[in-house]
C-alpha cells in the first residue's frame, strides 16, 4: 500500500520509492531494501504498475514504475480497507473500562 501511495505522486524507480518511504517515515520503517523488488515485480504482474526503462537523474539506465489505472483503484480499495481496520481497532481501544 505504501508503494502504491508513493507512486501516486508520479513515476519513480525502485531506489526513489525507497527514499521516499524513508523520508516520509523518518527512517523508522527498517526493511531489507532488496525485498522491495520482488514486491514491485509482483505488483507489476498483477497489473497495478506499469514499468518502463528510462534514464535516471544521474543519467543512468533505470526502470521506472508508474501507477496503472488498476493500481490506482487498488490503492483506493486498500486505503479504505485500512481506514476501516484502523477505525475498528480505535473503537476497540477507546472502550476503556469505565
Amino acid at each position: 500500500m505504501l508503494i502504491l501511495k508513493t507512486l501516486g505522486w508520479g513515476p519513480k524507480h525502485g531506489f526513489e520509492i525507497l527514499r521516499h518511504i524513508e523520508e516520509v517515515t523518518g527512517e523508522r520503517l527498517q526493511v531489507e531494501e532488496g525485498a522491495l523488488y520482488p514486491a514491485l515485480h509482483r505488483m507489476h504482474r498483477k497489473g497495478w504498475l506499469d514499468a518502463e526503462w528510462g534514464v535516471s537523474e544521474n543519467n543512468r539506465r533505470a526502470r521506472f514504475y508508474r501507477l496503472s489505472e488498476a493500481g490506482r483503484s487498488e490503492l483506493g480499495r486498500q486505503v479504505s480497507e485500512w481506514s476501516r481496520l484502523i477505525r475498528v481497532i480505535s473503537m476497540v481501544l477507546a472502550e476503556t473500562p469505565a
Partner: protein
Amino acid sequence: MTRRRRRWAPRATLGLPDFLNWRDVTPPIDEELRFHIEARAEQLRKQGWSADEARIEAARRFGDLDGHVRACQATERRRRRRGRMAVHMESFWQDARFALRAYRRQPGFTGIVVLTLALGIGATTALFSVTDGVLLRSLPYPEADRLVQVAHFHSEPEAQLAPGAFSWPDFEDVERGVTRFRHIAAYTPLTRNLVGDGSPRRLSMTLGTADFFAALGRQPLLGRTFDRNDAEAGVDDLVVLSHDLWVDRFGADPDVLGRRVELSGSSVMIIGVMPEDFRFPSSDIEAWMPMTRMTEDMTPRFRGLRWQVAFGRLDDDETVETAGAQVDVILEALAEQHPDSNEGWTHAEIVPLKDTIVGDVKNAVLLLFVATGLVLLIACANVANLLLARLVTRDRELAVRVALGASRGRLVRQGLIESVMLALAGGAVGMLVAWLGVNILTSVSAGTLPRVEDIGLDWRTAGFAFLASLVTGVLFGLAPALSSDAPPGDALRDGRSATGGGRNRLRGALVVGEVALSAMLVIAAGLMLRSFWTIMNVDPGFDTDNTIAVALSIPPDRLESTDQTNQYRQELLDALGAIPGVESVGSSKNPPLAGGGEPFGFELRDERGSVEVTPGSGVQFVTTGFFETLGIPIVSGRAFARGDPGLFVVVNQTLATKHWPNEDAIGKRLYLGDNEIEIIGVVADIRHEGIEGGTDGVVYAQSEVFRRSSVILYARTETASGAFTQLAREAIWSVNPDQPIASVEALSEQLTRDVARPRFFTLLVVLFAGVALTLSVLGIYGVISYSVGRRTAEIGVRMALGATHAGVVRMVLADAMPLLAAGLAAGLVGAFWLSRLFAGLLYGVSPRDPATYVAVTAVLFTTAVLASLVPAARASRLSPVDALRSE
C-alpha cells in the same frame, strides 16, 4: 558491471508493450537491482562514507541480491506466460481485421472465391443431409439397432417371388418356437377400398401379426394399436390410421376413435392413429390392420405360399447369429414334418432392419456423397490457385513484414486465418445452397429414395457445414501460407518474386490433383450415362405407345362369384372399348414391369416321371385381349379367346425353351394338384420384373378362372392417349359410380417411372462431373496463363532470336503436358477404385468398361489441352518488342 552510455528512449514512445522484447529481460532485472545498490552507495558516499565502505553498507542494506533476483525472475516469467496468450489473442483479431479489410478492397476476387466455396460446401452439405437421413440416422423406433429382418430362403439359391418371404403357417410355427426375440412379427401388404364419407379411395395398407406394433415399440398418437390380446380374442375388425390418412380423410378429428368404417365391404373399427413419422414398412402405407389367425383347415394349403415379410426385435444379449441359428433349427424341423412344401426351405437370414430399408441405395448415396466431396476438393484446389496468384501481388507486402521482424509462423498463421475466414463465408452462403439443394433433391427424388422424410437441414447438417468449411479453409490455405517464406531481400529488390519456382511446383501439383479428381468423376459419369443409355434401349417386350392402364380394385359386392366378377370386369372393359378411338382392350392382375406373379408350382408328368415346373416370375392372370392390347407377339399356338374359360394356359418363350428345348410346348399338359392344364400358346418374353430385372419363366392363366380383386385395365388407342385419361374415368364410373380408381396413366409413364431411380442418380453424377470438369479446366487455364505471363520476357527474347509461333505454342504445351498426363494417370487409378462403389448401380456395363475409360480420357485430354492452348496461342502472338518491354 557494464555501463551503458547509450541513451534509451522510453519504450512507450514506440507504442509497443515491453513484453514484446521478452527475450532479453533477464539482464535488466539484475541491472535494475544493481542500480539500486549503486544509487545507495552513491548517496552514502555523499554523506561522507568512503567508497568501499559505502559499497559494503549498500550491499548489506540490500540483503540477498541473488535471492531477490530469482524471486523477481519467477514473477516475471509468470507474467510473460499470460502476456503471450494475450498477445496471441490480440494478434489473432488483428490478423482477422486485416484480412477483412483486404477482402473488402477486392470484392471481385472475394466474391468468386466465396461463390466457388459456397457451391462446393453447399453441394457437399446437401448430400451429407441425404446421407445422414438415409444411411446414418437410426430408424425412428426405440433401440432401432435391435430390429432385424428375418428372411426365409431355400438352402440352394432358387428363384423366389418375394425373396426371403415366409408362408403364413411357417411364420406361426417360428413365432411359437423362438425365444431369442423379444418380439417377432410378420406383415403383408394389401389394398382396400375405403367407401363412404366422400369419394371412394383405395388405401395402401399393411396386415400385421399380433406383435407388429409391439416389436417396433412405437406408441400411437391417439387411442391404441392392435396387440396380442386382440389376436387371442380373435378380434380382427380393427384398423389403425396413419397420420396422413387421419388428416386428409378425417380432418384430424380426435373423435374418430371407436368409429366404424367400410373397408372393401367389411366394417372395421378405428382404434388408433399413429404419429406422423411412423411409416412402416414404407412411407405410402395409410393404415394397418391385424392379420386374421389361421384356421387349422387353411394351414396345409398356405404352407407353400411364401409372401409374408418377417421382422423382430432381438432380445438383450442375442445377436443376428444366435437368433438365426435358432430359427434355422425350427425351419429344419418344419422341413421334416412337411416335406411336400418345405423340403430345402431350411435357411434363415437375419439382417438389421435398417440395411433392408436402405440396402439398394446405399452405394448410390455414398457415390453421390463421394462425388460432391471430390467437387469440393477441386473447388479447394482452384481457390488455392487463386490465392497463390494473389500472393504474387502481395510479395512486397509480405517481404516488408518479414523485414520488420514478422516471424514465419506469424505469416503462416495470418494466411490460414485469411483462408479460414473465406471458407467460413463460403460455408455460410453454402448453407443457402444446401437448403436449395435439399429441397430440389427431395422433390426430384420422390419415389427413388427411401426415408426421404428423414432428410432435412438441422443442427447436425449445420455442424457438418461448419466443419467442412474449417477443413476446407485449412486445406486451401495451407499451400499458399507455407509458400510465403520468401527471403525478404529478393522480393524487395525487384517486383518479381524469386520464389515463383517453388510456388509453380505447388500450382502444378494442384493441377495434377484437379485433373485426377475430375477424371474420376467424369469416368463415373460416363459409366452411368452408358448404363442409363443401355437401360433406355432395353425393349420391355410390349408396346408402350398409345396404351393407357387403369388400376383399380373390384369391390367385394362384385366378388361373390366368379361369374359375377367376370361379368363386372367385362362391363368395365366394354365401357372402355366403347370410347371412340379405342382399338382393343384387355386386363391383367398386375401391371407390367411390377412383378407380382403368384407362386404356383406345376407338375409336368410324362413317361419319364414327374418334373416340377416353377415359373420364376410366377403366374400372371390376364384376360382375352391382353397380349393384343400390349402388342406382345404370339410365338406359336394361340392366345386366350373370348368365351373359352377353361384350364388353358399360355407360357412365355423362356419357360417353353427351358422345359421343351427341342419340341413344341403347345398341347403339353401341366398339373396343378390334380387339375390338368393344357398349354395353348407361347408368347414372347416381356420384362415383368422391371426393366433392370431379367426375364424368367411366366405362366399366363385366365383371370376368368382365377378370381382376384386387383385389376389393371388396358386400352389401346389410335392416337396419343393424353386426353384419354378423363374419358377412361368417366367410362368406369358410367358402369359403377362407386368404383375407386387408383390411377390412370399411359404405359409409357410407367416405363419412365421404372427408370426414375437410375435417371435420378445418373443426372446427379453427370451434373457433378460437369461442375468438376468446368472447375478444373478453369484451374488449368489459370495456371498456364500465369506461367506464360511470368515468362513473357523470355518468350520475347526467344521470338526476337527467331523462335516461330508454333515453337512457342509447343514450348508452353510442353510445360502443361506432364501435368495433364500425371493427373489423368492418377485419375484412372482413382476411377478404378471408385468403380467398386458403383458396380451395383450399373446395368449392362462393366464398371471397368474400357471404351468408357478410353473415351473419357480422350475427352479430358482434349479439353485440358484446349485450356492450355488459349494462353499458349496468346503468348505466340506477342510481338517481341512488347514482350521485352513488359520487363
